[in-house]
């Protein structure tokens, strides 16, 4: 079969688009196109990436304006068809604002922009985004955000846990959930969640910044590889 086609969506203020494009094209060896947020048709693509950055300068709330861009209709349509959608950092914030993922992302409890490596524990590897990881595996990935504190009202949080929708949690290097390992105050240490259907994934850490050995961690690469392999198995 041919290559898996990734769309890398670009909003005004997106700034991780080139990193995502590079990883898909050069490290993963699949196809990638930049798609400007005014485009509506994402049907030619198998996978859609909403990269990080500061879409619309984070005005009003992070992701609040970007969710209204025409491209989000396309994202919604393709997600309904079962295509894979991943939102990284600001992309995650856009997905929750758009209602494609549940919950909200609030200011970090220490009111600081956090730019550092953290440890993450893989909670569920039975998904198109994580099947190349082991359950309980501890990853090292960078975060870079001011508004990454995952919040959900208690009933929603319970259903996320019950449905195994939490894919990644902040942990210490041994995989233990310790308060000091939770960088932003996220409820239940949540760093990444998937929708009920399992094809829309949002996470605050940046896998595209740790997909090659030269970047001191390759732990993010298997997210992209998982997506591509999973898509190939469907085609």
């Amino acid at each position: 079969m041919g290559k898996v086609k990734f769309a890398v969506v670009v909003f005004p203020g997106t700034n991780c688009d080139m990193d995502c494009y590079y990883v898909v094209k050069e490290v993963l060896g699949e196809e990638a196109d930049y798609v400007w947020h005014r485009e509506e048709d994402l049907s030619p693509y198998h996978c859609i990436i909403l990269p990080g950055g500061f879409s619309y300068g984070d005005y009003l709330r992070t992701g609040a304006i970007a969710k209204l861009s025409p491209v989000m209709e396309g994202v919604r349509r393709e997600a309904e068809k079962g295509k894979l959608v991943i939102g990284i950092c600001n992309g995650f914030q856009i997905l929750v604002e758009a209602g494609l993922l549940p919950g909200a992302l609030l200011k970090n409890t220490n009111l600081r922009f956090l730019c550092k490596f953290v440890h993450l524990r893989v909670e569920n590897n039975q998904t198109p985004f994580t099947h190349l990881y082991k359950e309980g595996e501890v990853l090292r990935m960078p975060i870079a955000h001011y508004e990454g504190r995952y919040f959900a009202p208690p009933p929603l949080l319970q259903s996320l846990e019950k449905n195994k929708q939490v894919l990644l949690r902040y942990s210490d290097p041994e995989g233990k959930l310790k308060e000091e390992a939770n960088p932003n105050g996220s409820l239940n240490f949540i760093a990444g969640i998937v929708n009920e259907k399992g094809n829309v994934f949002g996470l605050m850490p940046h896998p595209e910044r740790c997909s090659e050995e030269v970047l001191s961690s390759e732990d993010g690469f298997r997210i992209f590889k998982s997506m591509a392999d999973w898509m190939k198995a469907q085609l």
Partner: protein
């Protein structure tokens, strides 16, 4: 016509900014401050002050109903 929209974090949602401001006020000597919550005020001028439409703006964009409540105050008369 003019409208003011107050957007507040819902009760039960931790307001870290409010906590920091409360602590800073206490450090300034205002020990009577027991709780601070910080929200947003949006003021707009409109050609049509229909409340239902402003509510729609809040639901769809101005507020995030997952974590925020909003209150609309419409001021009649020539602005």
């Amino acid at each position: 016509m003019r409208a003011r929209i107050f957007i507040r974090l819902k009760e039960g949602v931790l307001d870290v900014q409010g906590q920091v401001v409360q602590r800073a006020l206490r450090n300034l000597g205002f020990e009577e401050v027991e709780n601070v919550r910080i929200g947003k005020l949006i003021e707009m001028e409109l050609s049509n002050g229909e409340e239902g439409r402003i509510r729609d703006m809040c639901e769809r964009m101005l507020a995030n109903p997952v974590v925020e409540d909003y209150e609309i105050v419409i001021e009649d008369g020539e602005g």
